[in-house]
Amino acid sequence: MLYREAGQFKTNYAADSAIFPLRQDRLGLGVIILAAYALAFIGNSFLLQAVMIPFLVFSLASIGLNILTGYTGLLSLGTGAFMGVGAYACYKLMTAFPGVNVIIWIFASGFFSAAIGALFGLPSLRIKGFYLAVATLAAQFFLQWCFIRIPWLVNYNVSGALDAPLRTLFGTPIMGPNATPQTRYLVVLTIVILLTWLASNLVHGRIGRMWIAIRDMDLAAELMGIRPLQTKLLAFAVSSYYCGVAGALLVFLWYGGAEYDVFNINQSFFILFMVIIGGLGSLIGSFFGAALIFILPIVLGIVLPAMLSPFGISVGADVIEHLRFMIVGALIIFFLIVEPHGLARLWQIGKQKLLVWPFPY
């Protein structure tokens, strides 16, 4: 009843081409952002540290991969490694220049992974589909090998691990052992909102249309004057930029320290799951996908023992872990069968139904 298009007249082009043409949508978005900030003050530290921070980080990485796979149609399995490049670049930069604010380095580290991403994106000019996916596996394994074998990347420290030094913003520690989950959550949230806004503008503008044209039919796009080389490499670079920033956030604002193993091939698959379950070519889908794939196992870990206990079945933590794997696997197949276009499409259908409710059309 409240969600109606009636009475909202568009009087100029800008209003007509707005991303959120409905007033209710804009209000809803504002409420969600406000609620996300409010959560920092009402949520407990478990919720912030174990659920919300990783959810936002994975959403950011999913947006990155979605730009490449969803919008440009190039399948990549090197996401984990590109995240790693961001994390290592950030570590080198902030230990080499400790005086500069770390937020700047987090944003700058993305440029390093963008460069590496564009380099490994070169084969995409000749190959597509699964062949390209395997080519990006080369990036994954080669870069991971570099993280292990080049001690310079971790400043020759003995453990070979990245650790977050103490860094402050406006006098409050945001990184390192003294930073509270609350402040780290606020920093991550702000960065993710900023970059999502930027991505939204990119994909709805000329560049995004170029990517979509290449995805839908590269030959036709080329005939229309879109250069495949530049467009594809740009997609790789922007995608890797997002992944790199997400990697830096993952290590320094979530884990607080990590080894090369965080950026292994499973991380790449994990992000790809999120993108496909959430919906290819949809920014909000990236958030849905990250929520489903990351938060669902946590919820299952809490809910499953509670569900089984009334039947007198008490199971160990390892069985719960195995059941989680099975349920997540089955759910992936289930969602693909029910809605191959992902959760974003379900969301769209839901909104459409709500607009005309209670009538079917």
Binding site: I127, Y131, V134, D318, E321, F325, V328, G329
Partner: protein, 318 residues
């Protein structure tokens, strides 16, 4: 200049000085190549018949081997366990066809690819739930696989041949020969080739696609079982085998996604190239190049011949 010498001259001088080491390395490369080829074969079988890029092939290898060892540990005789493991793969094929492939028919490739990801997760959980997550020993002696080594005097040195490796090579060759006969001589094999050529034409002459899918998934399951036994005998049965299975992907690029001979030759090239590269050039960069060398070989190869050695010419490219 020094680095150029180390890259282009020294390894070859070393090869010439110690030919026995070269033969040893070549042999090890060939054996792992055969095993890569076996895993790649499973991919090719399914890709040809149903166009599905089956990511779950790696976990099928682990699952088949786990079923075999797990049943044996529960007291089932080894060869009965082998038959039961094969039956388990048949059940898996039927279930996959009914639950995953049939509802998803006509979806884009990437969706089917993702569905096999879901299958992978499910099988990991299922396998660990039933058989436990600990690494297991492959029951080599109970399956009458030979053990021990033969040392041959050769070119001024000793070359070791593990009997198990020889058996692996022989069994893999027999397996490939049987598959070749199956594809070219039998009625079902011809139906499979017809489906690979054109789904619609095959349907119109009365070939049941659903049946064919069950058969290829079962065949891939049997190949996975054999690969699982061989890999398991070399490095134990655990879920880390799944990562080794990813090595089949560069093999596929090299050989082409749709070619059985391609999978075998690609496997051998990757296996040998990897071992030679690791042994002679690896020390220059600190070793461990084995993890990515295969992918880089495949990547370079793609630039010159995107359809692979024997792949079909029609490839998605500009």
């Amino acid at each position: 200049m020094d680095i150029l010498y180390k890259i282009f001259i020294e390894p070859f001088v070393f090869m010439g000085e110690a030919p026995d080491l070269l033969i040893q390395t070549l042999w090890e490369g060939l054996v792992s190549g055969v095993l890569y080829a076996l895993i790649a074969l499973g991919f090719v079988l399914i890709f040809k018949a149903s166009g599905v890029f089956n990511f779950a092939q790696g976990i099928m290898v682990v699952f088949a081997a786990l079923t075999l060892v797990g049943l044996y540990e529960k007291g089932v005789p080894a060869f009965l366990a082998l038959i039961l493991a094969a039956l388990a793969m048949l059940v898996l094929a039927v279930v996959v066809e009914r639950v995953v492939l049939r509802p998803l028919v006509n979806q884009p490739d990437i969706i089917l690819f993702m569905a096999t990801f879901g299958l992978t997760y499910f099988l990991i959980g299922f396998g660990e739930l039933i058989f436990g997550g600990n690494p297991k020993e492959m029951i080599t002696s109970a399956l009458l696989l030979p053990q021990g080594t033969t040392e041959l005097d050769m070119l001024g040195g000793m070359v070791r041949f593990q009997h198990l490796d020889i058996a692996a090579a022989v069994i893999a060759s027999i397996m490939i020969g049987l598959l070749a006969v199956f594809f070219s001589k039998t009625r079902i094999g011809r139906a499979l080739r017809a489906v690979a050529d054109s789904h619609k034409a095959a349907l119109s002459v009365g070939i049941s696609l659903n049946q064919i899918w069950v058969i290829v998934w079962f065949a891939a399951g049997i190949v996975a079982l054999v690969a699982g036994i061989m890999w398991g005998a070399r490095s134990g049965v655990s879920f880390s085998l799944q990562i080794i299975a990813l090595k089949a992907l560069p093999v596929l690029i090299l050989g082409g996604f749709t070619s059985i001979p391609g999978a075998i030759i690609g496997g051998l090239i990757i296996g040998v190239g990897e071992k030679i590269g690791e042994f002679y050039w690896g020390p220059l960069v600190g070793g461990g190049v084995e993890t990515w060398l295969a992918y880089v070989i495949a990547l370079l190869f793609l630039l010159y011949r995107p359809q692979g050695l024997f792949g079909e010419k029609i490839i998605e490219r500009i």
